[in-house]
Point group: C2
Chain length 471, copies 2
């Protein structure tokens, strides 16, 4: 690293100072960004960061003892990486705990099933639930069932998430997870089981949040692995009643205050203006949270650290945020946005991006900014192009934890990742370190370092609330 | 199927009857075998048989209630497939039961681990075992440790099985599973954990048998998934003592008598001479035993059924055997061989083959027969060649349940399967129906039908004990 920095220093001296154009960036800035890119590709600390998080903390579900260990880990890691300023901000949320989960077919062909409770689910009580299964091809079909038609039954939603590079199969499928319990309970069901919202054919059940609404009974909700959902479909195909035993112990117990953990590279000219990158620090309890979202934390910590090791800091501050409790309701992102709004700091946010889609390579840059700032994005895109990243003016969306501050008017960028395999591992025990290709991780660090550095180096304004109101 | 059989009948009428050569097979025989091959490729009942077994029985560990259900299922399936003669033969063995298995790192970084008890292991007792982990790169290193050096410790064997098409990575690795407990106990260890004997990077622990010996303490033995073994290696790499908590409840309880289930296509001229094909009916308890060995049962039942639907039966009897309890010590194969020896029927065995290597395509025919019978094998190989099957005069080995009768002098054949992925699923919860490609299964049915039919149609003798003694 020392050698590369020296090369950069040389290039800063050697390059003629060109006048900045509508991008607010000159040749020195581009040279510095290119150096960051090449440094990251040559080997970034991202994989080591994820290795550290998954080994020394592991699963870190919000509100558990591992949550506090993760916060301490993140603070220490920011400090070790040389960030100028490291601090915590409180995030409060209800605590959900998973104690036990089992399912088995009792009749006509007894078999155990691989199941997991959905986040937020109530338990089945002391005696478990034994009831006949009624299958629906999707949530809409369940919602269309007559009132009372599922009294005493377990509803089963069997539709399968479709695999896409951009993960767009998730949206149409995830309603079964979010709303299945409410829709089933409205019809009188005593529980709901869904085919996992995931693309894997391995025998892992995918957890994830579900919700209840007032005035509808709270019934247990669980997901079967894809092979187990297949098995249940095959068994139901025999035309005989299928009886399932569901035994879930889970509870929501009080509140917990965790923290967003923040590391900054202080801007040299405009320290009050910030560019944020980050990932979420919490994970589900089943895996070690390597992909979701150790990768995002590692990528953005590494990218920020590379920027911090430049000869001089960029004009604006680069803020790396390890968000608390994304999984159970974007609590970290919401708390961050609310704290900024309360402090009158929304306008200080020049651009926000989050890495929360695993460890697949970045293939596109998209953004939600003032059109006057597009030349900057185009220029950033030129530096990203050798990474295989296309600049796309349409589409995209902010990362989940960036959404809340975007809703308050802040501009955003997205470095879209190849998510072809992401939903094979998402929210399962199989989300572990070995699924990460260190070279792919370095490509992402390169992209985030370039984006963060150039967005912080330019003086061009990325747009404020009025420009964003139409979104 | 009816249409194809009619075509076969036509071909039998139309083909000129050629004199049989050293192969004992004429053009009509070859035409019939080719028809069987094409019928199987056009769609065999094998996948439906595996679907039925995995759906209607599922996991069927020897000695559990599901064992009896599997035997009843197999008898009914043979009958439904039109076998001439269906019968059971008793197989007695000790019963091992798995009740509970959990592992977690207690220090320095608390994390749960995915673990499974090895078949035959004792439990850890009421209070579980909490002890420091001492790692060894392989079984030899453990065996070389000084006496008493592991007193009060848990030994961990970290070597990783290597992936090969022919599965030859299994042999060098599996000693850690078979003998790890004995070697660890000799050094004073209180338990042994191994990296799973498997090639998957998914978070499944692979079970499988282990053994104890007299005069060495019986200590619990368990396997970690590959990602969990990686995690433990990473954690040990920190240089701090690692404490593991292992909680296994398992026991060996008395004896059980299950059955080999046998279906026959009675030979038209030499019914007392038999060609056997088969798979094993039992599975481990973790998966549904689709690949291990539902596939072998389905392939060979389907192949036998196709032979049975020919216009006339082959000269010799084709016997399809669904062996009991292969997994815990080849009990079915041993009982079969002993019963034949007791009845003086070893010499009646003209060729034995077993499908027990998953559902990958067959790529080679190998055999252990009298050299005088090689022209028959070569001729069979010609009919198999369009399936992508090469005839190999060297190498190979009989299937596990055929081994005991081969040891008593019977000749054998092997239809070697592509096992590249087999050890990803072997002995894990992930051994489920969706891992089977129905078209690949049909290719294997084609190969087994051709082999069984032609070996039963020829009058050439495949060799007896004297010819086999050198093996």
């Amino acid at each position: 690293m020392r050698h590369a920095v020296s090369l950069l220093a040389l290039s800063l001296l050697a390059a003629p100072a060109l006048a900045a154009d509508a991008t607010g960036l000159d040749a020195n800035d581009i040279a510095a960004a290119e150096t960051l890119r090449e440094q990251a590709l040559a080997g970034s600390p991202a994989w080591d960061i994820v290795e550290s998080l998954t080994t020394e903390v592991g699963p870190r579900m919000a509100g558990t003892p591992a949550d506090a260990r993760a916060v301490a880990w993140a603070k220490a890691k920011f400090e070790a990486l040389g960030f100028d300023k490291v601090y915590l901000e409180p995030v409060t949320f209800p605590v959900w705990l998973r104690h036990r989960e089992r399912a088995e077919i009792l009749a006509p062909f007894p078999q155990p099933l691989v199941v997991t409770a959905l986040g937020g689910s109530v338990g089945t009580g002391e005696g478990a639930i034994e009831a006949e299964v009624v299958a629906f091809p999707d949530l809409a079909a369940l919602s269309a069932a007559p009132e009372g038609s599922l009294r005493g039954k377990i509803a089963f939603i069997s539709n399968r998430m479709v695999r896409f590079k951009d993960g767009r199969g998730y949206g149409p499928a995830v309603g079964a997870r979010s709303n299945g319990a409410v829709e089933a309970a409205k019809k009188g069901a005593v529980a709901v089981v869904i085919r996992s919202i995931g693309t894997s054919s391995h025998r892992f059940a995918h957890t994830g949040t579900m919700r209840y609404v007032p005035d509808v009974p709270r019934i247990p909700a669980a997901a079967l692995s894809n092979p187990d959902a297949d098995l249940l479909v095959h068994m139901l195909g025999r035309g005989k009643p299928v009886t399932l035993r569901l035994d879930i112990a889970a509870e929501t117990v009080g509140e917990y205050t965790s923290h967003n953990v923040i590391g900054e590279i202080t801007g040299r000219e405009l320290p009050g203006e910030v560019v944020t990158i980050g990932g979420h620090l919490d994970s589900w309890d089943l895996g070690t949270g390597a992909l979701d979202d150790g990768a995002g934390v590692g990528i953005t910590m590494a990218a920020g650290a590379l920027v911090g090791k430049l000869g001089q800091a960029p004009r604006r501050t680069v803020r790396v945020i390890a968000y608390a409790n994304e999984e159970q309701g974007l609590y970290g992102g919401k708390a961050y946005a609310e704290a900024r709004a309360a402090a009158g700091e929304i306008d200080a946010h020049q651009l926000g991006a989050e890495s929360d889609f695993g460890a697949g390579r970045v293939y596109a840059l998209r953004a939600g900014v003032d059109p006057a700032a597009w030349p900057v994005l185009e220029k950033i895109g030129e530096v990203l192009a050798p990474l295989g990243v296309a600049t796309e003016r349409e589409g995209g969306s902010p990362g989940p934890d960036v959404g809340p501050i975007v809703a308050k008017g802040a501009p955003w960028a997205q470095l879209a990742q190849d998510g072809t395999d992401y939903f094979d591992y998402h929210h399962t025990p199989d989300d572990t370190l070995d699924k990460i290709d260190p070279k792919a991780l370095d490509q992402q660090v390169a992209a985030y370092a370039v984006l963060a550095y150039l967005a912080a180096e330019t003086e061009v304004d990325f747009g404020r609330a009025p420009a964003k109101a139409a979104e």
